[in-house]
Amino acid sequence: MNFEQFLQYIFSGITSGSVYALTAMGFTLVFNATQIINFSQGQLVMLGGMIAVGLYGAGAPLWGAFLGAVAIVVLVTVGFERIAIRPLLRKGVLAQVIATVGASFVFETAAMLIWGRDAVTLPAFSGEEPLSVGGATVVPQTLWVVGLTIVIVVALQLFYRKSLFGKAVRACAVDATSARLQGISYSRVVIFSFALTGAISAAAGVMITPISFMGFHSGSLLGLKGFAAAMLGGIGNPVGAVLGGFILGIVEALGVGVVSAGYKDAIAFVILLLVLFIRPVGLLGAKMVNRQ
């Protein structure tokens, strides 16, 4: 592999890594608020992309399709929280796993019934003219993906560190009971976290659709990889989620170059198992994971 190829793989890794990072962020937001791992996380990303394609096809401008998709997915996640999550808070892992998996079946089949079985795409946000960077080519959409990811991550950090409500959300993540004793409305924090997850996931889905297409079935693998990224970084740690996402994206892209494209999807799961078996707290995790 020469340097140009290496650079090419790195760029492609950063692009998919951005989406893994945002997906992992979605897992983290929900996990911190509820201690639940949302198995329909990947389907929310898929819904974002599919809705945007649908809106664009119906004549909406690109930015309108983007915002519309984000708004609709936020509504979906808020409804999902009311119906399926709230009754199952602290009701055991098994019920939560299967309820969120059930939701993922619903999202997926609904997308298939509405938009059909074919993978669809969106036009790139600002043209297809590729740029050349150090001998490697980069499509402008990559810059959009990476740029928007950085903006979202920084905005979230500012929100959590500076605003009063952001601090309340963090307090709930540390100890929900004590936070409630301080007068923080736990149910508002939960519903807000779900809405935020929906918005971030939808944005990730819309951004990636011009590069990698989107089909009703794209969500499950995205979700699992996002989870692997979240575990790698340390579940519950937003910085870890972003770090894990980018590492996973780059390792995967290099793996395609070194091993073979066929095993690309296995890389995430091997990493997931290694993290679980060797260091369940992840790279940046500090909280002790419940293991024997």
Binding site: Q35, I37, I83, A84, P87, L88, R90, K91, G92, V93, L94, A95, Q96, V97, I98, A99, V101, G102, A103, S104, F105, V106, E108, T109, A110, M112, L113, S220, L224, F227, A228, M231, G262, Y263, D265, A266, F269, V270, L272, L273, L276, F277, P280, V289, N290, R291, Q292
Partner: protein, 334 residues
């Protein structure tokens, strides 16, 4: 105690099992419709998979979202050994089960140290890796095209390709597994599994080697799944990777929960639901099967609320608030 009394006592103790066995084994005598017989044949193998999960989840309290992976190893092991190497189907089935047990042991040792979500995700990752290998090891598995021309089972030169003969064999094996599972859960092993389900430290302090027991039951579940997968391969005579996805693992575990986790019998009720429901939905509209199934999963979980009992036994149970330390569902005690 006279001999007759002993017989009567034996019959009483095993009445449910004996009645069930007689009903199941006499079905081919009055049912000849090939569609219903094939539904029943798939029910037998799903019952085997569910029984393994029922022991693992219901008795020992360990979650596995990877059961379909071991079903896949059983099916592919049987198919590869018979079509490529010309092995006897029964020998191939046994070898595949051995392979499944070995893999389950190797994976189970590190995985079963984890709990709750982490165990769920580890088993899910194992399933996904097995699935990717089934697609990618093209020289061995023929990739997404799958393997066709798998021979049917036979006993002493007598082919079991007819639905009635197959019914007797597959249900015969399922009934043996049920007897074994029922005996197991009534034995010292079963009690130690339920003890570690309630509290691992408590079970340990009473001398139960909890990590050994957990790996053991995980391997047993894998063997059940593997044998069921081999049976399906010999029955359908064709296999392809998409039958062994995580989705199938989830459907299996849901069946076990619907049926009830307290006894292995729950696996039977759950199997009835996960076999019959899709067949009914298919008649309405194949596309909506997963939609309805998804809605049902959410609804059932919201109703079930993660209790130790299955949905059937739940009716008599009052809604009580059990905190996270109580005799909660598997993985609830954080």
């Amino acid at each position: 105690m006279t001999g007759l009394d002993t017989v009567v006592a034996y019959l009483r103790r095993h009445a449910a099992y004996l009645v069930f066995a007689v009903i199941v084994m006499t079905i081919p005598a009055y049912l000849s419709d090939s569609y219903y017989l094939s539904v029943l044949a798939f029910m037998a193998t799903k019952f085997m998979m569910a029984m393994g999960l029922s022991l693992l989840l219901g008795q020992a309290g360990q979650i596995s979202l990877g059961q379909a992976g071991f079903v896949g190893i059983g099916a592919y092991g049987a198919a590869i050994l018979t079509t490529r190497l010309g092995w006897d189907p029964w020998l191939a089935m046994g070898t595949a089960a051995l392979v499944s047990a070995t893999i389950a042991g190797l994976v189970g040792m590190p995985a079963l140290r984890l709990k709750g979500y982490y165990l769920a995700m580890a088993t899910l990752g194992v399933n996904e890796i097995i699935y990717i290998l089934l697609i990618q090891l093209k020289g061995l598995t023929n990739g997404t095209d799958g393997i066709s021309g798998i021979p049917p089972l036979s006993i002493g030169g007598l082919s079991l390709s007819g639905p009635r003969a197959y019914h007797l064999v597959v249900w015969g094996v399922a009934l043996l597994m049920l007897r074994f599972s029922l005996n197991l859960s009534n034995s010292r092993v079963g009690r130690s599994l339920r003890a570690l389900h309630r509290s691992e430290p408590a079970a340990k302090s009473l001398g139960v080697d909890t990590s050994y027991r957990k790996v053991q039951v995980f391997m047993l579940a894998a063997v059940f799944a593997s044998i069921a997968g081999s049976f399906d391969a010999y029955y359908v005579r064709f296999i392809s990777p998409e039958s062994y996805t995580i989705t199938f693992s989830i459907i299996l575990i849901t069946g076990v929960i619907i049926g009830g986790l307290r006894t292995v019998w729950g696996a039977m009720w759950g199997t009835l639901v996960i076999v019959i429901l899709p067949e009914l939905l298919k008649r309405v509209n194949d596309d909506i099967t997963n939609l309805v199934f998804g809605v049902l999963l959410v609804a059932i979980m919201v109703l079930w609320q993660g209790r130790t009992r299955g949905l059937w036994q739940m009716v008599k149970e009052r809604r009580s608030r059990s905190g996270p330390g109580g005799p909660g569902p598997p993985g609830a005690g954080e």
